[in-house]
């Protein structure tokens, strides 16, 4: 096996090219055909250039949102799987995305009408929900000893997810007909962000999470073998686990507040990536970020085109593609 340096270069180049292809092709796919040459034809004023308008106003924000959400959720999936030593963990296993969903439900149902730095109330409430959920689960898991108990973390997360789902149903019960419709649509997960502003709001949070994660991949390799084994190899386990939990939750919260709970990305992408690059987190983390972005762009392209009379929410597409695919992965061997 060649040295990690070479494998890292090959991995980044390969998955980077894949994402580049998705970023270029994604905005060209849709119900209306547009020409890339016309989009960038400076001789036509923007107001008259319908191709450029479709490209920059309708499609590019969606594609960029897909890239950001896909990268964030896939990476968060990798981290939660390593942290919980469980390959079936997802960004929602610890209740972070359910907490985010509850925040959004409350904001929609009770008509929260505020904005902060140009960010609307629904994503703000949603992000606050994810942080709240993380806080509760973290407090439970670290209540009984120094450091985190993986098993308590897992059970607390599963319980909190169920509890948040109950609160979501309760909130929906209180909502009127139109608001219920909005909440249900939000829960399907959609990349119809409308403008660049919400993407720019989520971007720094995701970048911060990625910067934190960049210090962690080797520690995650060892933590996945067990906390004691990792400590004996020199990992500061408590600090690394805290950092991993915080960064993966930030990424999840930002992604869910931007697009709603888009399922299966955080489960399917890390597994596919491991099939290709192996299990070393120094390769799996960046490859999952790049591939997750490309994968969600592709799923959104399907969502925009498969239904002749309109667009499907992308969460439905990822679940329809991801579910059977994951079952195939399970029975493959």
């Amino acid at each position: 096996m060649p040295l990690i340096r070479k494998r890292l270069v090959v991995t980044l180049a390969g998955f980077g090219l894949l994402l580049l292809a998705a970023l270029v092709t994604g905005p060209l796919i849709g119900s209306t055909h547009i020409s890339l040459a016309k989009v960038f034809d400076r001789s036509i004023p923007f107001a008259d250039n319908t191709d450029a308008q479709i490209f920059f106003i309708a499609r590019l924000p969606r594609v960029l949102a897909a890239a950001l959400v896909g990268a964030a959720l896939a990476t968060a999936g990798v981290v939660f799987q390593a942290l919980l030593r469980n390959p079936l963990a997802t960004p929602d296993t610890l209740g972070v995305s359910s907490g985010a969903a509850l925040g959004a439900m409350v904001a929609i149902t009770f008509h929260f009408d505020f904005a902060f730095a140009g960010i609307a109330s629904i994503p703000l409430a949603s992000f606050a929900g994810s942080i709240g959920a993380l806080g509760i689960v973290y407090a439970l898991a670290s209540a009984r000893r120094r450091g985190l108990s993986t098993i308590v973390l897992l059970l607390a997360g599963v319980t909190m997810t169920a509890f948040f789902q109950a609160l979501i149903l309760f909130t929906q019960y209180l909502a009127d007909f139109a608001d219920t419709f909005r909440t249900v649509r939000w829960l399907m997960g959609t990349l119809d962000v409308g403008s660049y502003a919400p993407i720019l709001a989520a971007l720094p949070i995701v970048l911060l999470a990625f910067a934190m994660l960049a210090t962690l991949p080797r520690s995650l390799d060892l933590i996945s073998l067990g906390a004691d084994a990792a400590a004996a190899r020199g990992v500061n386990v408590v600090a690394a686990e805290r950092m991993a939990l915080a960064s993966a939750s930030l990424a999840t919260g930002a992604a869910v507040s931007l697009a709603g709970p888009v399922g299966f990305i955080g489960l399917v992408v890390p597994h596919l990536v491991r099939l290709i690059v192996g299990s070393d987190h120094r390769l799996v983390l960046p490859a999952s970020a790049l591939f997750g972005a490309a994968f969600l762009i592709a799923c959104d392209a399907i969502a925009r085109t498969v239904w002749s009379s309109g667009e499907l929410p992308v969460g439905i597409v990822t679940a329809l593609v991801g579910g059977p695919f994951f079952l195939w992965l399970l029975v493959r061997k």
């Binding site: 040295l3 084994a229 190899r233 299990s279 120094r282």
Partner: protein
């Protein structure tokens, strides 16, 4: 090299002490075995000696410095611990696992270079596991896994190697392999070792010193020849045993005869 004085450990304040007033001195080149029935505190003691578990009372000094004054990374360059069992939830290859032993020697953003790979390969060779360097760790047998994890600990280049029941669940052939491997590492590479085991004959064949633990107390400690007697075996395990020097092997052997009523 390492001196632990009056160690005690309880999982909660006021709870029963798993380790109670244990003192251990390890000199460079020693090969020490910790014996004791299930629940006697062997694993807890090893974890404290490795610095991964802080004692409730007592102090440990390693290379003239309190263990608490070492950073985790610095300590892992000097002390390695081989746990009883290693389970990999992902498909790491054998080489992946062994290269993880280089963790304490690398900076946060440093990737392994050819020198690290050479050290890992040497560790594989010295544990007889070079042949399955590219195999998934999860597909190995128990004995192969144990040797790979020892190789990973060796890649840490430790001065002190701690092993928690290194032969548990191994068959006779693999037990002997591990015994010869550890004896060779101690003799030829000067690796100091402290290991826990339930296998009295394995301990008698390998270890020059023994620490006998019962309910967290030291029942006896000292040279194997002095400490391993029918009396201590009865006290430890409640078994009447014949202990005598094996004429061919040249070390003590223990044969259980009857359960003490």
């Amino acid at each position: 090299m390492l001196h632990a004085s009056h160690l005690s450990f309880a999982y909660r304040a006021g709870a029963a002490r798993v380790i109670d007033d244990v003192s251990v001195t390890v000199a460079a080149g020693d090969l020490i075995g910790i014996l004791g029935p299930n629940g006697s505190g062997k694993t807890t003691l090893l974890k404290m000696l490795s610095g991964t578990l802080a004692p409730s009372a007592g102090a440990i000094e390693f290379e003239q410095r309190p263990l608490t004054a070492w950073t985790r990374r610095d300590l892992a360059r000097r002390i390695a611990l081989v746990p009883q069992e290693t389970h990999a939830p992902f498909d790491f290859t054998v080489l992946d696992i062994v290269l993880m032993g280089r963790y304490p020697h690398l900076g946060t953003f440093t990737l392994e270079g050819p020198a690290d790979l050479a050290i890992a390969r040497q560790a594989l060779a010295s544990t007889g596991t070079s042949a399955f360097e590219d195999r998934p760790f999860a597909t190995l047998s128990g004995g192969e896994k144990q040797r790979v994890v020892i190789a990973s600990a060796l890649a840490q280049c430790p001065a002190l190697l701690l092993l928690d029941e290194p032969t548990a669940s191994l068959d006779l052939g693999h037990q002997l392999d591990v015994q010869l491997l550890l004896a060779g590492l101690n003799r030829n590479r000067g690796v100091t070792m402290v290991l826990s085991t339930h296998d009295l004959n394995f301990a008698a064949a390998l270890c020059r010193h023994l620490i006998l633990l019962h309910d967290g107390h030291v029942v006896a400690q000292g040279p194997t020849e002095d400490v391993l007697t029918p009396d201590t075996v009865r006290e430890l395990y409640g078994v009447d045993a014949d202990v005598h020097r094996h004429p061919i092997a040249g070390h003590l052997t223990v044969t259980p005869l009857a359960r003490v009523p």
